[in-house]
Symmetry: none
Subunit: 204 residues, 2 copies
């Protein structure tokens, strides 16, 4: 796993790098500033980033986190001591994959990285707009026939009636009929309310 370290204190950075390399992680680079971190991200994207929250006494780490969150799909961990509440609050909002609290030891560092990476891959799985029967409430799926579920999956992906008809090789009228039945069974009145219901059923 390729890791980028963003840390302004050379001693700590070197320390982390050494530990990581000993444990079969690859350290792509050590960035001592926000600017260098960003250029490194854009030219040589790692699998994960370790970010010191307080870079050169500014909250640059959080800014980097926001940029990663918006533009790259890699997990990041904050390196932090027991910071003040405000900073911690802002850090939390970036939804980091984990935290490493200073002082840390070899075991906790490696564990944290592995766990964070695992969590991130789990989260990424949610990306795919694949409706999973298992995830739905039983009383929702019980009512719905197999065919209707085919339709429901396509609705879930945002398809129009026309697209659904083409996908399933059935007439537009049939699509409408099925969708009508789905609404009756789920007690919804539209695609939108159906999508809301699915979202809620799945996030239990």
């Amino acid at each position: 796993m390729k890791i980028l370290i963003v840390e302004d204190e050379p001693l700590i950075a070197e320390d982390i790098a050494e530990i990581l390399q000993k444990n079969e992680f690859i350290v792509t680079n050590i960035a001592y500033s926000k600017e260098f971190a960003l250029s490194e991200l854009s030219t040589n994207l790692p699998d994960m980033a370790l970010l010191d929250i307080n870079l050169n006494n500014k909250m640059d780490g959080i800014e980097i986190a926001q940029i990663i969150q918006a533009n790259y799909q890699i997990p990041f961990i904050f390196i932090t001591s027991y910071s003040d509440k405000n900073t911690l609050e802002k850090a939390k909002l970036t939804e980091p994959s984990g935290y490493i609290v200073k002082p840390f030891n070899e075991a906790s560092l490696c564990s944290s990285i592995e766990i964070a990476y695992y969590n991130h891959t789990q989260k990424s799985k949610r990306h795919f707009p694949e409706l999973n029967l298992v995830k739905l409430n039983a009383n929702l799926t019980d009512k719905i026939s197999d065919r209707e579920f085919d339709l429901l999956k396509l609705i879930y992906e945002g398809k129009t009636n026309k697209q659904i008809a083409e996908t399933l090789f059935i007439s537009g009228n049939t699509v409408k009929k099925h969708i009508n039945n789905i609404y009756l069974k789920l007690n919804t009145i539209s695609r939108a309310t159906t999508l809301v219901k699915l979202r809620e059923s799945m996030s239990v």
Copy 2:
């Protein structure tokens, strides 16, 4: 915050309890066995549980985690040393709110608990159909104005144009205009595709 400690080594348990009490946490009890932990959970539910993965050389901690996950809505943290991969793998499956890696210090223990508790409350919020700006990709929200976001939230809840108009005290024409602009900015073509995009943006 009321915390239950499940740890079979009295020294460690006492150590943790002491630290917690010094930091304004309330330790409801210390459970040295699975059985006692379960009875404590059912009679005196805490706000959070700290679970040693290896209880009396068995993986009882994981079992407790599974039971908490299935029956109680409280967050739990694993207390662990660098365990073997199999155990760690199983522990991850219970989706704990965090890990505390031994040896830990006061700061890391308290940080971990606070962060884990925060994460858990965030997760719970996903139940409710509330759209959170912070959770959206920056490049999505940057484009959207405050007012448009008001509309987006209502779309997110499955409201019709009419309902939105009544909620925001604006004309149906205005609603349509705003929604049109939202589609342009998000590069979507309908409520359904917008809901899909929101879903995907939020699960990053």
